[in-house]
Amino acid sequence: MREHPLARVLLRGATGLVLAFLVAPMLAVVVLSFSPTELMVLPPRGFSLRWYEDFLTAGRWVLATRNSFVVAIATTLLATLLGTAAAIGLQLGRFRGKALLVTLLTLPMVTPYIVTAASMYFAYALVGLTGSLPGLVLGHTVVAVPFVVMAVLATLQTFDANLLRAAASLGAPPTAAILRVVVPNIWPGIAAGAVFAFATSLDEFVITLFLAGPGQFTLPRQMYASVREFLTPTILAAATLLFLCSLVFLLASESLRLRSARKTLP
């Protein structure tokens, strides 16, 4: 069923413009990060890697990168472990109020981050968790874990419950059944959740702003501070590198999606 030719041209034109609007700022940042001077003008007047060199040699950027990755890796491990276990438990259990429990566990996803961050700031201060690495990881885990729960629950929808019964009938105790039958069958969902958790932590800014100690700079926090302080193309080099990370996340999540889509085909 085709649209009227005129409508078609208009629709495609509008779509092209919107897509360009979506992608252009990112491309501009990438191009400007190779600028040979401090001037950020388009089209670029030459090409240089000096801002990347600056990024890699400036202590604070390196430290921020390291902090970001330490926190993101710890968050991903914690969120994936807890989120996967909880999702499997939610699928296994037969009790009332399951929907309510899912809502509760995924509440941080729809709560304004500023409220979450402020609340954590109050509460973590009471137990001395502010300004510490564990506190930061905990905060990131809270906002990252709902994505793991959702991703794993979605994959579990396509998991045949009879496989668990079969495993039990063959003598496998529940833990063995989960580790040897459930997990190998839903790993694309677990991995997709882990990618989401990692990306969420790497991006996270507001919670870090409140919970991190004076020396605990992550990449987003360092970027924010630098933009407010003095805008140099080094920030754009950092942004470009973060952007590359997000492309990796995109590729990973899409290939996992294709894989689990193929798995569910008969």
């Binding site: 496989l163 019964r165 495993a167 009938s169 063959l170 496998a172 069958n185």
Partner: protein
């Protein structure tokens, strides 16, 4: 029966606490027998099987295995093999890994596992298929693997829940023969669920006919077919014409159209409303029937040719849906013509209305 492997005593089950799914079930499964639970969809067969396997808890009553109550034994310690309708083969494992799974759970030695896996594949006539993935097998082959997997750890009891339901007719018959052979060969006790009466009649030592969560009749294939205990069994197993009637005396009944029908002596009091059930293939047709019991003439409404026999729909006893079966060699009458028929008194089953 002293040699019962499984004993259900007063077992009831309701999922929501209100609607009964299985009601007050008493059932013994003898050692080595092939018992089939037969009944329409939703009659509680799967639920019964799942309670035995340990995947559902009974709401009331007790289940014994080998004289021991198993209510508190978790499924993985019951040692009961289960074949699921959708096979439930682990998609992330090869066929051989699927078969090895229960053995490796039981920590058998590697060589022992390899030998038993190979033998199991031979038993279900799939040697050389060990490295395939379940998805690479046909439905029938997957079913054989599922059967081998349920048997490989030598369980005393194997439960099969409509294992052939998804297969086409020919494959189904082939696998029925296979299952019978394996049952005879291993002497293992099997409880088999199906809604297909022909399958139940072919396979079973005994059949438990289920309806609405209760056993309607428990007996051999011959008993449930020839001597149904109630109208439901009569209607569910094989075909039957059901007619309403009223008792005249110890052998005579009056049908709705006013004609009389002679039956075997029964115990109903005169005047009682009863239900009469007559199997189509037991009605005698043709000129030679006049003079026999319950002889009459009826008009042919419709003739359906079915290869090995024909089905005639007759106007009889005030209705137009009286069905009889005509074996192949007989001459087929034309619709609208009149035929002679007789109903042997032994073919008239009388039930309370």
């Amino acid at each position: 029966m002293t040699d019962a492997l499984v004993r259900f005593r007063g077992v009831s089950k309701s999922y929501d606490g209100r609607t009964p799914v299985v009601t007050d079930l008493d059932l013994d499964v003898s050692r080595g027998e092939f018992l089939t639970l037969l009944g329409p969809s939703g009659s509680g067969k799967t639920t019964t099987l799942m309670m035995l396997a340990g995947f559902e808890d009974p709401s009331a009553g007790s289940i014994e295995l080998d004289g021991v109550r198993i209510d508190t034994v978790p499924p993985h310690r019951r040692g009961i093999g289960v074949v699921f309708q959708n096979y439930a083969l682990f998609p992330h494992m090869t066929v051989a890994e699927n078969l090895a799974f229960p053995l490796s759970i039981r920590r058998l030695k590697r060589e022992e596992i390899a030998t038993r896996t190979r033998r199991a594949l031979e038993m279900v006539r799939l040697p050389g298929f060990g490295d395939r993935r379940p998805q690479q097998l046909s439905g029938g082959q997957q079913q054989r693997v599922a059967l081998a997997r349920a048997l490989i750890f030598a369980p005393k009891l194997v439960l099969l829940d409509e294992p052939l339901g998804a297969l086409d007719k020919q494959l189904r018959e082939e696998l029925q023969a296979e299952i019978r052979r394996i049952h005879a060969q291993l002497g293992v006790t099997m409880v088999y669920v199906t809604h297909d009466q022909a399958e139940a009649l072919t396979l079973s030592d005994r059949i438990a006919v289920f309806n609405e969560g209760r056993i309607q009749q428990l007996g051999t294939a011959e008993a449930v077919y020839e001597r149904p205990a109630n109208p439901f069994v009569a209607g569910f197993i094989g075909e039957s014409n059901r007619l309403a009637a009223r008792v005249l005396d110890a052998t005579l009944l009056r049908l709705e159209d006013g004609s009389t029908l002679e039956a075997m002596p029964h115990a109903f009091a005169p005047g009682t409303a009863v239900l009469v059930s007559i199997r189509p293939e037991r009605v005698l047709l043709g000129p030679g029937t006049q003079g026999l019991a319950n002889a009459t003439t009826a008009r042919v409404e419709e003739v359906v040719y079915l290869g090995d026999h024909s089905r005639l729909r007759l106007a009889h006893a005030g209705r137009t849906d009286f069905v009889v079966k005509l074996p192949r060699q007989e001459a087929v009458p034309q619709p609208g013509s009149l035929v002679d028929l007789a109903i042997p008194v032994a073919a008239v089953a009388v039930f309370p209305a």
